[in-house]
């Protein structure tokens, strides 16, 4: 599981830097903070979602989607919208 998680993290980070470079984007410090927090929460969700199923605890798995997964999506969405609207304005 940790190998898969590491691979996914690597791909996401590479993809992010590729996107930033391709579109010549520059993110503000708070966009970085919100984005990294959202990404970390997303990782926590994925690891514990899979881990909980491996522990035969399906209710815990779904609770992780709700309690940490949903906020992670919100944070990632906020970071994306902040950056997108700022670029659009400029």
């Amino acid at each position: 599981m940790w190998f898969i998680m590491g691979t996914v993290v690597g791909i996401v980070i590479l993809g992010l830097f590729w996107l930033i470079k391709r579109n010549n984007l520059s993110l503000t410090w708070y966009e970085w903070v919100i984005g990294i927090a959202g990404f970390a929460l997303m990782l926590l969700t994925v690891q514990n979602f899979i881990g909980s199923f491996l522990e035969y605890e399906p209710r815990a798995a779904y609770m992780f989607l709700l309690v940490t997964g949903l906020p992670s999506l919100v944070l990632l969405g906020v970071a994306w919208q902040l950056a997108a609207r700022r670029v659009k304005k400029a």
Binding site: S52, L54, E55, E57, R59, A60, M63, F64
Partner: protein, 465 residues
């Protein structure tokens, strides 16, 4: 074409240097640093544990060593129940237990079917019957063996306590235990060895060379100054099915494996030229193993009256062997468990017999004559607990199964929570509430569903630790 020169450009070189630097940094962060050769030699003598398990000078519970006396094992429920409630009452309860179990097997009651009973009985082999073990250890010379060093005219093992402790950890792990810790049997810690054993024999320390046993007493030589405590993990998945014969099966297997391990540990000491003294039956006579485990930092005292391990939670049983082999003792720990137990109370609220103590603060006052006075804890009413086993026809274990620390280790959140509780008790109540909200309830499984699980680990135990 053979390239005789490196084609690495400056950018790639700097990138590679970065990776190498990060790698070296990560390795050095995870590797031990030795200040001198002595420190290096003793490196393996201590447990390698998570950073949040802090060694402390005294256990997290308060102990009054003047009040604490060597305990009489004939007062504990396993031994004294019949005389406590009356022999006729106990006999009637025993007869009812057998009749109930027979009926439940016949009815195919979930958790008490014939296959559950067969599994429990097979797992229990070696625990209550089957393996021949005793206080002094088995001295048989096997067909492939040669005897102890003295039989061969050879000197006994000679190593520094640090080297020897590292060797013991390595050997015992191989021989099949979970974790080990070492207690020095000084004047105080000797009070954690029973004064009277389960069968009524006195356990005494005498200034003799060799341990011996008579009809009246078991004698530990003064020079046997160390006890090696060992844990035997249990299957959380099975114990979650308590109170049933399936829940019991993992308890029984753990004790059975512990018995076998005790025999092997005693032989290991003997073949090194030293003495290994253990329980004469089961694995929990001779010494109060949870107390030894707490004093040597294997775990912390829990509300339920057992040692709670940072690694296994409540999912392990204990044994110990006393030896004259010089070793390095371990210190007690603070991993936040005792603090957590003060606010959690899940075990006490789930205890159907009311044996466990739900008070807010621990107390020096005992609940009944079998309690061991001298420690400020949540004393349990062991007779109530023992009596309830008859109603269930099983070993209950609900308190063990309901503990929040009794978790598997696949979801990373458990380590985060354990580390947080070790650092601060501020979130203990929140974590307890979330534990139940997330559905980690001991009773959240149909007992018979265990038979349909694929890929359970050997003995049902995750051997990560």
């Amino acid at each position: 074409m053979v390239k005789s020169h490196s084609t690495l450009n400056r950018r790639d070189f700097m990138k590679a240097l970065g990776f190498v630097g990060a790698g070296v940094g990560a390795l050095s962060a995870g590797s031990p640093v030795f200040k001198d050769l002595d420190e290096m030699a003793s490196a393996g003598s201590s447990n390698k544990r998570a950073w949040w398990i802090k060694e402390v000078d005294t256990p997290t519970i308060e102990i009054d060593w003047d009040m604490l006396k060597r305990h009489d094992a004939t007062t504990i429920p396993q031994v004294a129940y019949a005389s406590f409630v009356g022999k006729d009452v106990a006999a009637a309860q025993g007869a009812k237990q057998k009749a109930d179990r027979k009926q439940w097997i016949a009815e195919d009651k979930s958790g008490y079917t014939l296959r559950d009973y067969a599994l429990f009985d097979a797992a229990a082999y070696g625990w209550q019957a089957g393996f021949s073990h005793d206080f002094l250890g088995d001295t048989t010379v096997t067909p492939y063996g040669m005897g102890s060093p003295s039989d061969l005219g050879l000197p006994a093992w000679n190593g520094s306590p640090e080297e020897t402790t590292a060797m013991i950890r390595q050997a015992f792990r191989f021989l099949g235990t979970g974790t080990i810790s070492i207690v020095e049997l000084n004047e105080n810690n000797r009070k954690l060895v029973y004064g009277v054993d389960w069968d009524g024999k006195a356990i005494v320390f005498e200034n003799v060379e060799k341990a011996y046993e008579t009809d009246k007493k078991r004698v530990i030589p003064e020079k046997c100054r160390y006890a090696v405590v060992f844990s035997m993990p249990m299957s959380e998945e099975m114990n979650k099915r308590a109170p049933t014969l399936l829940g019991d099966a993992t308890t029984a297997l753990s004790y059975s494996l512990s018995t076998l391990f005790q025999i092997r540990a005693q032989r290991f000491f003997r073949m090194l030229g030293y003495q290994g003294l253990g329980s004469f039956t089961y694995v929990n006579n001779t010494s109060i193993n949870p107390a030894l485990a707490v004093i040597s930092g294997m775990g912390e005292q829990g509300r339920l009256g057992q040692c709670v391990f940072p690694e296994y939670g409540t999912m392990a049983r204990l044994g110990s062997v006393i030896t004259d082999l010089p070793l390095v003792p371990d210190k007690p720990i603070d991993s936040g468990v005792w603090n957590f137990c003060k606010t959690c109370k899940l075990c006490a609220s789930h205890c159907p017999s009311g044996a466990l103590n739900p008070d807010d603060v621990p107390s020096w006052d005992v609940k009944y004559s079998g309690n061991h006075p001298g420690k400020k804890v949540y004393h349990c009413d062991g007779m109530n607990c023992r009596g309830y086993w008859y109603d269930l026809t099983s070993l209950c274990s609900i308190c063990v199964a309901s503990c929040v620390f009794a978790k598997k280790n696949k979801a990373g959140i458990h380590d985060i929570i354990k580390a947080t509780t070790a650092v601060t008790p501020a979130f203990n109540s929140f974590f307890r509430t979330m534990d139940q909200a997330f559905g980690y309830k001991y009773s959240n499984r149909d007992p018979e569903s265990w038979w349909d699980i694929n890929g359970e680990p050997m003995f049902g135990i995750d051997s990560r630790y």
